[in-house]
């Protein structure tokens, strides 16, 4: 589905990603783990096209297209979704209006008919059950006055509505208590199909108890230094990231 080859990216002239290689197939869940400042969130932002980052080398092929050439909204139309670490507030714009606008743009880009308000609300109500969202939330302004947990749940609701091919979850577990974590993860799991893929970016192994990855990659200093199965996450949890650093030192 997506293939990242030797990806280098920098922000304000500082290189953060120093040659990422990663291939994700349909139906797979990949976890990207790593210490703070290793470049995990940068990878998520670069894939979705945040203008603050400059790609200096490498390529990303998504479903046969050069992803890096596309504006962020075109990437969204193509099926890339980013669940934000810090969802943004848009005062005065209701959740339902915002989501409907986005969904209809995506549908239009695919030559599908736009949903009218009735059809949309009907669908939204079904999707809201996935993340156990209160109905009053439809009319509240986007993320304004939301608790940290509500914001993250809102991200997963948007994902449920948009049904992306590739979902990138950026630190979706940060700021969640255990109940919210369970709701959010079960939402993600319910949305999983053999046709879509998920990249989970996280610092802690905790989330991976609920969203079980097929592959785990460890990102240190802008490079993937170790890849493995889900047991790698357990190992990291038990020994911390230092053990990877030690391994790297020994290897050199």
């Amino acid at each position: 589905m997506i293939e990242i080859k030797n990806l280098h990216a920098s922000v304000n002239g500082k290189e953060i990603l120093k040659g990422i290689n990663l291939k994700v197939n349909a139906g797979e869940v990949h976890a990207i783990m790593g210490p703070n400042g290793s470049g995990k969130s940068t990878l998520a932002q670069v894939l979705s096209g945040h203008p603050a980052y400059t790609v200096t080398q490498g390529e990303v092929i998504f479903e046969g297209q050069n992803l890096l050439e596309l504006e962020p909204e075109k990437r969204a139309h193509a099926g890339v979704f980013l669940a934000f670490q810090y969802p943004v507030e848009i005062p005065g714009v209701s959740n339902s209006y915002f989501l409907k606008a986005g969904l209809n743009e995506i549908r239009k880009s695919r030559g599908e008919e736009e949903l009218d308000s009735m059809q949309f609300l009907k669908m939204l109500k079904v999707k809201m059950k996935v993340v156990e969202m209160d109905p009053s939330f439809i009319h509240r302004p986007v993320n304004e006055g939301f608790s940290g947990g509500e914001k993250k749940r809102n991200e997963i609701l948007q994902m449920a509505v948009i049904e992306p091919k590739l979902a990138i979850l950026d630190e979706t577990d940060s700021g969640l208590d255990i109940d919210a974590l369970k709701i959010v993860s079960s939402g993600v799991n319910k949305l999983k199909t053999p046709q879509n893929a998920t990249i989970v970016v996280t610092h802690y192994q905790r989330l991976l108890n609920y969203i079980v990855p097929d592959f785990v990659h460890v990102l240190v200093n802008g490079r993937i230094v170790k890849s493995g199965g889900k047991e790698l996450a357990m190992e990291l949890e038990a020994n911390g990231y230092d053990f990877i650093r030690e391994e790297m030192l020994q290897a050199s």
Partner: protein, 478 residues
């Protein structure tokens, strides 16, 4: 991203065309003679000529205010022509006699004056340069005793009402620009809603400046008698020209006991080009008087045009329990400057006022909110709530807030809230990541920001205003 912005910036001002019509324009310059000529052209009674002259003499002793936070080239009052009117048959008996070129002009502006296509439920007075060219639905309104006509007609047909109310809210010597207007005002609208009548439709005046080198100095007077209600809207556009043009209007509203006047403005005068060349200088005095008990006056304004805006629609809360409201969205882009706000003068007991001001600054625009809330000694148990929000788009614009508050009794309360935010790259990126392009994202964000004001506009106009806001800001995010 910057390419799309370039494209969007080049969006042209839609109403910038000129109408080629033969006009009668007096030579530039201002003197007692010019004031007399204007008065004579309009066949005015002597008292009104004298009223104008008094204002003119006072104006000559006054100084142009320098306190606003505005930068503009000095205005040469002798280089402006103070009267311009399209030539047409003396007295029109029906709209069919209006010059087709004029009808076509309004048609192009989206205002239909012809009988068949008129916007249902809205009566329109069309003011072209210095004169009113047509007023629709006059007869329908007349059945209810409502007067809606051009100011000139009102002077002829309803002299007692004009004499009684003209200058009763904004005295002819109130301030520099009001004095100028009082001396040379040409036309405008007059509305009178008799006791107990609820005006069955929106009333609207559409102001159009066409001739070059002229100023527009219109005068609007709205009187709502006991228990009457009216909702009134004005719209304004002007051709694109390289020189600046002066617009100095006066609007007076009077609400007697239990009456309500709702006044909405969508101001879209030509704003000048992106380097600040040309555009309208908009110096306007608007004031309402809640003269009676339980009366209410509400101003809603959407200000997107003009190179320079100086206006403070105000309410004098004289009657006990009266209510004043001011809802404003002011947008500046490119080189536009706006210094706008309101005055709420609480005089009567239990008076209440609400101020919601939303300033949006983009490009190199400079946006100032200036407001006065004054609660007098006898205005016991009065309340004011003020909310001033500013939104900045880009790094080269500015927003300023100057709230003045005076409270002279201990039973009243005043609340003031203010915020400044910036349309961030992050907000736009968030929208784009959900599939919404930059243009629609900006439009969505600013309409969300201005929502509290838009909801106070009559339905049809709210939609127009939302679109207008999108157009004036297109391409301003970089």
């Amino acid at each position: 991203m910057s390419e799309t912005i370039e494209e969007l910036v080049s969006q042209e001002y839609k109403y910038g065309f000129t109408t080629d019509i033969e006009s009668e324009t007096i030579a530039p310059g201002l003197s007692e003679d010019v004031v007399r000529i204007i008065s004579k052209k309009k066949n005015e009674p002597e008292w009104l000529t004298e009223w104008r002259l008094k204002a003119f003499r006072m104006w000559q002793t006054m100084e142009e205010p320098r306190w606003p936070n505005l930068k503009y080239a000095k205005i040469n009052y002798q280089s402006i022509s103070y009267y311009s009117a399209p030539k047409q048959a003396k007295k029109l008996n029906s709209l069919d006699e209006v010059d087709p070129i004029l009808l076509e002009t309004y048609e192009k502006l989206g205002i239909s004056l012809t009988e068949q296509k008129r916007l249902n439920g809205v009566a329109v007075d069309a003011v072209f340069d210095s004169v009113s060219v047509a007023t629709t639905f006059k007869e329908t309104l007349k059945e209810k005793g409502i007067i809606f006509c051009s100011f000139s007609d009102a002077v002829k047909d309803h002299p007692d009402l004009i004499k009684k109310y003209l200058g009763s809210v904004v005295p002819s010597t109130d301030n520099y620009f009001a004095a100028l207007n009082s001396a040379v005002f040409s036309d405008g609208s007059f509305v009178f809603i008799p006791k107990g009548v609820r005006c069955p439709m929106e009333l609207s005046t559409y102001f159009r400046i066409n001739a070059s080198n002229t100023g527009q100095f219109e005068r609007t007077l709205i009187v709502a008698e006991e228990g009457a209600y009216v909702s009134y809207l004005e719209g304004c556009t002007a051709p694109m020209r390289d020189e600046n043009q002066l617009h100095a209007a006066v609007v007076e509203l009077v609400a007697l006991d239990n009456a309500e006047v709702k006044y909405s403005t969508v101001q879209n005068w030509y704003a000048g080009d992106k380097d600040g060349k040309g555009g309208i200088y908009n110096f306007v005095t608007k004031r309402g008087k809640c003269q009676g008990v339980n009366s209410k006056i509400s101003w809603t304004q959407v200000e997107t045009g003009s190179a320079i805006t100086w206006k403070y629609p105000s309410v004098i809360l004289q009657g006990d329990n009266s209510i004043g409201e001011f809802y404003s969205v002011a947008v500046v882009n490119n080189r536009q400057d706006a210094d706008t706000g309101t005055k709420m003068l609480h005089i009567g007991k239990n008076t209440r006022s609400t101020i919601v001001s939303k300033g949006i600054s983009a490009g190199r625009g400079n946006n100032t909110y200036r407001g006065l809330v004054s609660i007098g000694k006898n205005a016991v148990n009065s309340r004011n709530y003020t909310q001033c929000d500013s939104m900045l788009i880009g790094n080269k614009c500015s927003a300023n807030t100057f709230p003045y508050i005076e409270v002279k009794n201990s039973s009243s309360s005043v609340e003031h809230e203010a915020s400044t935010s910036k349309i961030g790259e992050d907000q736009i990126f968030y929208c784009k990541q959900r599939g919404i392009n930059t243009e629609n994202a900006i439009s969505m964000i600013i309409n969300g920001f201005a929502k509290e004001v838009f909801k106070n506009l009559p339905m049809e106009f709210a939609v127009e205003a939302q679109k207008l806001l999108g157009i004036s800001l297109e391409g301003s995010v970089g």
